[in-house]
Amino acid sequence: MSIRIIKPGLLSTIQDLGRLGFRNTGINVNGVMDVFAAKSANLLICNEENEAVIEMHAPGSTLKFEEDALIALAGADFAVTINDIQIDTWRPIWVKKESILRCNGAMVGKRLYLAVHGGFDIKQWLHSSSTNLKAGCGGWQGRALQKEDVLPFRKSCRFYFQTESSVHVFPWKVSESELPFYSKHPTIRFIPGHEWEELAPTSKSLFLNKGFTVKKESDRMGYRLLGPPLERQKSRELLSSAVSFGTVQLLSDGQLIVLMADHQTTGGYPRVAHVISVDLPLLAQLKPGDELRFLPIDLKTAEEALLSQVKFFRQLKLACQLKLEPILLC
């Protein structure tokens, strides 16, 4: 009833949708970088959307299933094979015991999510399974997965389902038209930050019209962007206050940083922009060298996009239940 890690990959951690309720004590939210992919992977196999998943970074992990399992992969295309059979993302997959999952590269995208039906049997810390790498808490022993780790499933599953093959990919998937358009050159929508108006007019124009390249000093805490230096009309010191996933801050050298899932709870740099929630998955899939552009939208439009995504996930949940329930015996 478990998965064994054969090769750890670059950085694989256990994450859910984050540790909420403790930001006021400085405890980071953490959680998956690509919320769309993680929710989809869970819903495809009839999990709650907040169930813990494995988040992999390219190059991903090699895993061995020590029990039959119903799984889903979502996010970047890592050219995954199971027992040397090519496997599609965004679909439910039934895997026989002893199967080996390998990642063979990533053309576009940076992070892949693996969900297991029923979830992993992991002790939560502060009501969440997300890994806080800095504090060494939560997730799997507070750290990235290592060779020979054995992650237990919460329940064993049997299916009303017969196949000779060691792998069965179900013939339905998340509709292509609903998927985030992962790209190396995405347009990222934002709402202006509180200090947006303090930018010099030329800097505003540069922000809106130039591309910004993700630097290699980018990780789950934040992405450093390389672009034309931006200036404020007058500089004033700001007191620290709360920041959020997607906050774009202007550093003192004129360069930008976008805060990501492992960001600190508070910060004192000017807030130029906030990436809207539904576009965070596009950011989450960027690699160093990829180039993004910013597009302003208003808050009402951002909320509407978020609401329609909530609606989409409710439909996906219902559709997946209808499809899978007849064959699930657990």
Partner: protein, 240 residues
């Protein structure tokens, strides 16, 4: 009796699912008391879709679930506008005199030596001897304005102006957990080993952050803190 609406504030989004109410870009105990009072008020009367808050020096940030906020009221208003209206209503109802009882936390500190690598620097900087600096640092009951930066890092003030000191030009790569430092008129404690730029005067044997505790974080915004000096022997034999 003054109400909290006597002062100006601004409310702005810091995401499409969070907003900040800001009472002014200033470290001042009266502004922070407003933040803490409003924070208490929200937790005692949370709105539908409320997730959590982050109190800071002079601002309070509220995180919410856009879908649940919208679902709670049939209106054309955005979730932002609904939460903003709620906050303004909450604000008009609270009074500074009604602030919650705050808790006093006493923190033992072993000053100087290897525990306080910057105490000598501060002596040079201020022209005071170590005993005077320790006396000044321990003679004030500090207000905890906020917790941030690291799990359980308390930002406290106001430090006596005679020992106020700028941050280091080059942050230290590793400041030990428990280190007590000064930056400007703030004082704080590093809960974890971390890079940091504050001037370190000493170290506490208390664990500011312990993930195994029911309440992992020892000190929270709204608490009061008083330091007292202990010697190296007491530090090394500290229990609990």
């Amino acid at each position: 009796m003054s109400t909290l609406t006597d002062h100006h504030y601004s409310i702005f989004a810091i995401s499409d699912a969070a907003l900040t109410i800001d009472f002014g870009n200033e470290i001042h105990s009266s502004l922070n008391q407003k933040v803490i009072a409003l924070n208490h008020c929200i937790y005692s009367h949370p709105f539908a879709g409320f997730i959590e808050t982050v109190p800071a020096y002079s601002s309070l940030t509220v995180f919410y679930d856009v879908y649940l906020v919208k679902q709670s009221i049939s209106t054309e208003y955005t979730a932002f506008e609904i939460v903003k209206t709620y906050l303004e209503k909450a604000l008009s109802g609270i009074q500074t005199s009604a602030k919650a009882e705050s808790r006093l936390v006493k923190i033992p500190v072993c000053y100087g030596g290897s525990f306080g690598p910057d105490l000598d620097w501060l002596c040079n900087f201020t022209g005071l001897n170590a005993a005077s600096i320790i006396e000044l640092h321990t003679s004030v009951t500090y207000q905890v304005y906020m917790t941030g930066f690291l799990p359980g890092f308390p930002y406290m003030g106001i430090v006596n102006e005679n020992i106020a000191a700028p941050r280091k030009n080059e942050p230290s790569l590793k400041v030990a957990a428990g280190s007590v430092g000064i930056a400007g008129k703030q004082t704080g404690i590093y809960p974890l080993d971390s890079p940091g730029g504050w001037q370190i005067l000493g170290r506490t044997p208390l664990r500011l952050f312990d993930p195994e505790r029911n309440e992992p974080v020892l000190i929270k915004a709204g608490d009061q803190v008083r330091f007292y000096s202990i010697d190296e022997h007491a530090f090394n034999n500290w229990e609990g």
